[in-house]
């Protein structure tokens, strides 16, 4: 739980309005991807301990951090990462 909280807090800090004037929001795709990879994986692992499927954690992470709630992964990030969507879909058995 501590690593999950730490990753979340770090992202919160990076998206803090006081920091935004120094940030280049056009270049946030890799940050969003790295964050969501680690955060979703950790959340999935935590839910696994509660006997819930790991994928539930991934979906919850996507909803909470996506454009409609916290906006850590913005709509433009989602568009930029469409290539990964296609790749992931082609890999699902």
């Amino acid at each position: 739980m501590i690593p999950l909280a730490l990753v979340f807090l770090l992202m919160l800090l990076l998206k803090w309005p006081g920091i935004l004037p120094f940030a280049n929001s056009d270049q946030s795709t890799s940050l969003a991807l790295g964050f969501i990879l680690v955060f979703a994986y950790l959340l999935g692992n935590n839910l696994k301990r509660l006997r819930l499927p790991q994928i539930t954690g991934f979906i919850i992470a996507g909803i909470v951090c996506g454009p409609f709630i916290l906006n850590f992964v913005s709509e433009s990030n989602v568009n930029d990462l469409q290539l990964l969507d296609g790749l992931a879909l082609s890999l699902i058995p």
């Binding site: 690593p3 280049n24 270049q27 890799s30 940050l31 790295g34 964050f35 680690v38």
Partner: protein, 403 residues
Amino acid sequence: MQALYAFGLIILVAFLGARFITKGTSLSPVNYFSYSGFIYIILGFALGRSGLGVLGPSLLTGLTPLISLGLGWVGFLFGFQLEAKYLKRFPRKYINLSFLQFLFVFLFGGVAFFLMLKPIYTSEPGFLLYGMAVALGLLISLNSPTLLSMASNFIPERGSYFYLSRFLVSVSGFWGIIGLALLSSFWHFPFFESKIILKGGGFLFLSTIFPILIGFLFHFLTKKRVSEEQMLVYLIGLVFFVSGAAFYFNLPPLYLSMVLGITFSNLTKTHEKLYPLLLSTEKPLYIIFLILIGALWKVDFDYRASIFIALLVVLRVLAYMLPLPFFKVVLDFPLRLPTRFGLCFLSSGGIGVAFAVSMKLVYPLPLTDVFLTIALFGILVTEFISPWGVKFSVFRLDSEEQK
């Protein structure tokens, strides 16, 4: 859909290419080009926007996260080998020599470049030319261990010069990347001139503390028993996170991920677990990175750039050769340091390419397109001649020493 095809093509080339990267039968420039993967920059260039256009601008935008991962990966691997326990095995004079060498090459190169830049690029503002001279000075101070790692298979007798050069090329990049961090913090884009000390200090603090925190997190996550899959997800995710944060603040991903690598390497006891993972993923990722760099490369070539490419090659040769006898006296170095020993430092390898690309991405200005052209052409030329340099220096000096 076209993007997915092109991406599939890159992945296929990368995985097949990684299988065919061999040391060859001799230390020749052609074999080295294939071994170091530089051939993939040329392939990427042929497929990219300046070539056949298979990898067009919109596709390359979609693949930008992979460049970010590639830069982060190069930095992480470099930092990961800088373990204090390993460095302490070498005498203090070796570290002093590496710093002195960096300082001389950087100052000699930086000043020479600035003196030449000013009369040739007359229309560019002075502060940008200062920045470019510093960046070119830092670029020629970088070395890569790849060439010596290949040369170790062909060297007749490994002696003191081989081990000294191996140490110097492994460590020298550290100083250059620190220089890059200072440059991009205090010369931060787009705040070039306002409150430079306060903002620069803030950016430097941020670019150091953030990867240290992530390094501790990585250690915390992997100190218990973790599967290979978990380790890989954490590694890729955290390298993405760190290099993404670097891009987000216009800071060099190379520095942040190097700090992550150093922090993790000095905390963890699971090196032996991570090495096989790094070895299996390193080559394909590196090839993808080189193809994308080649594809992104917008060649801004004119007579002025050609002058600086030639200057970069000449300065690199001179800056490594000339001061060696002086260093021997100043440091009271236990080994003879003849000028020709400097010829083994001509290769800057992947770290030089990553440095040049970092500069281009951190400073999205027309002048950095010129910088990238000078840097990449200069690197390709020095890489091509570097195998001969190693033969004339390390091979001969070690043979003479054995006699």
